[in-house]
């Protein structure tokens, strides 16, 4: 049963319903036969459910191997789910058949990638890169109309129309991300999946791109699924936040509430681990252990080896999602009321 935690009055544009994805990472057949190695299945996404209201930004945050990038690729259709569904405006995306219908759906969801150096074809000119969705979906006819639209898009992301004649290698990392954003916007999408779009950028360039993305969201009414490992960026840009650990969504909720009252022990640990830039000298729980390998995760609750509140039940039984004030959390300690409440001050330190 999925609890659809949607704020009053907001319709969900995209929903993940019990989404799962398994990858077969077994050694080749010959090795398995000769060396007796077993099949290895990697559960990258493990029964994840969330919903994203229209016009908001939902962020997925977590460390390496948590599956957030896989979720992004599932939502945008680069992978097929092994279980569960993705709903776009209530329709199951996997049920959409026929080239026309699929193309119409594709137009409405687009993606921005992490690596500004690999996300643009180095042999194509920028104008062709940005025009590709327009041409693929035949949104405009005639070279002049397409060129005009490309110029408009380039200006919208803060570049000059004359930049269209150049090649990607002539631009900096931040400018390339702007080109990626222009390309993503070319088909007039409603929903953008952003996979760590600023992680490879310098912090001042990141500020430019984040400001741009916020402005575009306001001006064009976009909905974002934002993937990141940087909690400060997530705080700045999100309306809702989901925390993932080894394929599972351990907690999600309204952003301010989650950062002020983190419930799940992993969320608390993550927030404590953020370097203290403001030098408040705040007390921190020492972080423990390493992220285990996703191929053989610990049984029961995956986090139990590192959790200060782990019990026997945690080692045996995987926790289920509990509805909270503004989202959901999967933790036995929370359910049993064993967790001390935490109120993190969000006030900026006075200098």
């Amino acid at each position: 049963m999925v609890e659809r935690q949607v704020a009053e009055g907001q319709t969900a544009l995209v929903e993940a319903d019990d989404l799962s994805k398994l990858f077969d990472v077994s050694p080749p057949l010959l090795n398995r036969l000769l060396q007796g190695k077993p099949r290895a299945l990697l559960t990258a996404v493990d029964h994840v459910s969330f919903s994203i209201p229209r016009g908001t930004t939902f962020s997925l945050v977590g460390e390496s191997g948590c599956g957030k990038s896989t979720v992004a690729r599932l939502v945008v259709g680069l992978h097929r789910p092994s279980g569960g569904r993705i709903l776009f405006e209530g329709t199951d995306m996997a049920a959409v058949r026929g080239r026309g219908a699929v193309a119409r759906l594709r137009k409405r969801l687009q993606m921005i990638f992490q690596d500004p150096y690999a996300s643009l074809n180095p042999r194509w000119r920028v104008a062709d890169i940005v025009a590709e969705p327009i041409r693929a979906h035949r949104l405009l006819e005639g070279r002049r109309a397409v060129a005009a639209r490309v110029a408009e898009l380039l200006e919208q992301v803060g570049l000059a129309p004359s930049d269209g004649g150049k090649f990607p290698h002539e631009f900096s990392g931040g400018q390339r991300q702007r080109i990626s954003i222009a390309r993503a916007l070319a088909s007039n999408p409603e929903f953008l999946v952003c996979d760590e779009p600023t992680s490879a950028l310098d912090v001042s360039v990141q500020a430019q791109i984040l400001n741009l993305m916020k402005r575009l969201q306001r001006d064009l009414g976009l909905t974002y699924l934002f993937i990141s490992h940087d909690l400060a960026v997530v705080y700045h840009i999100s309306d809702f936040v989901g925390v993932m650990y080894l394929g599972r969504l351990v907690e999600w909720g309204e952003a301010r509430a989650l950062f002020r009252h983190p419930q799940h022990p992993y969320t608390r640990m993550l927030l404590d681990a953020i370097p203290d830039l403001e030098m408040t000298g705040r007390p921190r729980t020492p972080v423990a252990g390493e992220v285990p390998s996703p191929i053989a995760p610990p049984p029961g609750c995956h986090f139990h080896p590192r959790c200060p509140f782990a019990s026997d039940r945690c080692r045996r039984e995987a926790p289920r999602a509990l509805a909270t004030a503004a989202g959901a959390v999967s933790c036995h300690a929370v359910e049993e009321g064993r967790l001390p409440p935490v109120e993190r001050s969000l006030q900026r330190a006075k200098s």
Binding site: F113, N121, R183
Partner: protein, 326 residues
């Protein structure tokens, strides 16, 4: 009227646009690293010059060669076995001497180079098209397509290329009626040599495709909804062609030598259209009877051509390697 004018305007705009982009591309090329590396490498420039001379001579053979060795009216048995012009008995009409029939060696070399280069380029083209196509399919589609193509490639690699060329050529001779074979010998030879070399292209391209496939610009194209075939041709192919050019250049040298070997063994080109290899074989009989020039000059020409192409390929590989660039 207005439509006509605007059409013409659009046409001229498009044409000027295209010429402008072409001029721009030329400018970029000459500004680029590869041209810089070329002009600073004497070896590359000399090899390129030599190759261009050979190709030019081969292409314009009727204009360049002093005589047409196939025109029996110009051949006189009395002129047979004349030494090169700088030796005693040499004739200024025949700069490098004549062979046993009285044909001018220089002319036969030029026409021979034509055959050698013709077969060489054609078989490289065939191997390249076939290898790149199969490599693209193999790398991009993966799965069973990849498995099948790669197993075929593996099996073929266990045989030396010459053996495969021999096999195909010999098979065609025994299967096809004699006069048919005499007509299509060129295509059979090109097929034989081309088919023996596609594997290297396929494997290299497959490796590059596997790398490019994981890159985000390919994923972006998938998200946009571009069909796989278009992604392969328009996105991936331009980015994997670099190593292919290097292989093609070195392959050209090997193809020429392979054809020469086959011809030397007597099963390559027919005697009516001798290549450099045939000339070497035919002249071999006269080597120890004193008329050394009949085999040495074609042989030297063959060696110089192959060396030049090889060096050019070496330079190209270093120039295109981003890690070696300074």
């Amino acid at each position: 009227m207005a439509l006509d004018q605007s059409g013409r305007q659009a046409g001229t705009a498009a044409a000027t646009g295209m010429t402008a982009r072409f001029a721009d591309s030329l400018r970029r090329f000459f500004d680029g690293d590869i041209w810089y590396s070329f002009t600073h490498s004497p070896v590359a420039m000399i090899s390129a010059l030599v190759t261009v001379v050979f190709v030019g001579a081969a292409l314009f053979a009727p204009l360049v060669a002093p005589y047409n060795p196939f025109d029996l009216s110009t051949v006189d048995l009395l002129d047979s076995e004349l030494p090169p012009v700088w030796q005693d008995g040499g004739d200024p009409r025949f700069l490098l001497g004549t062979d046993a029939q009285g044909r001018d060696i220089l002319s036969t070399m030029i026409y021979g180079a034509r055959i050698s280069l013709g077969v060489g380029f054609a078989s490289v083209a065939l191997a390249m098209v076939l290898g790149v196509a199969l490599g693209l399919l193999s790398g991009y589609l993966g799965g069973i397509v990849d498995a099948v193509i790669m197993r075929i490639a593996d099996v073929q690699l266990t045989f030396p290329a010459i053996l495969i060329a021999l096999l195909i050529d010999g098979l065609s001779r025994s299967v096809l009626p004699r006069d048919l074979h005499a007509q299509i010998w060129f295509y059979v030879l090109v097929l034989a040599i081309g088919l023996s070399f596609w594997v290297q292209y396929a494997r290299t391209v497959r490796g590059s495709v596997l790398v490019e496939r994981g890159k985000e610009y390919v994923q972006a194209a998938r998200v946009i909804g571009i069909p796989p075939l278009l992604i392969m041709l328009r996105h991936v192919l331009p980015n994997v062609m670099g190593p292919v050019l290097v292989i093609a250049t070195i392959n050209l040298a090997i193809a020429i030598i392979t054809e020469a070997t086959l011809s030397f063994l007597g099963i390559g080109v027919p005697l009516t259209s001798p290549s450099l290899g045939t000339l070497v074989r035919v002249g071999n009989d006269f080597l120890f009877s004193g008329s050394w020039w009949i085999t040495i000059f074609p042989g030297a020409a063959l060696a110089v051509l192959v060396l030049a192409v090889n060096l050019l390929g070496d330079w190209l590989r270093d120039a295109l390697n981003p890690k070696l660039r300074g």
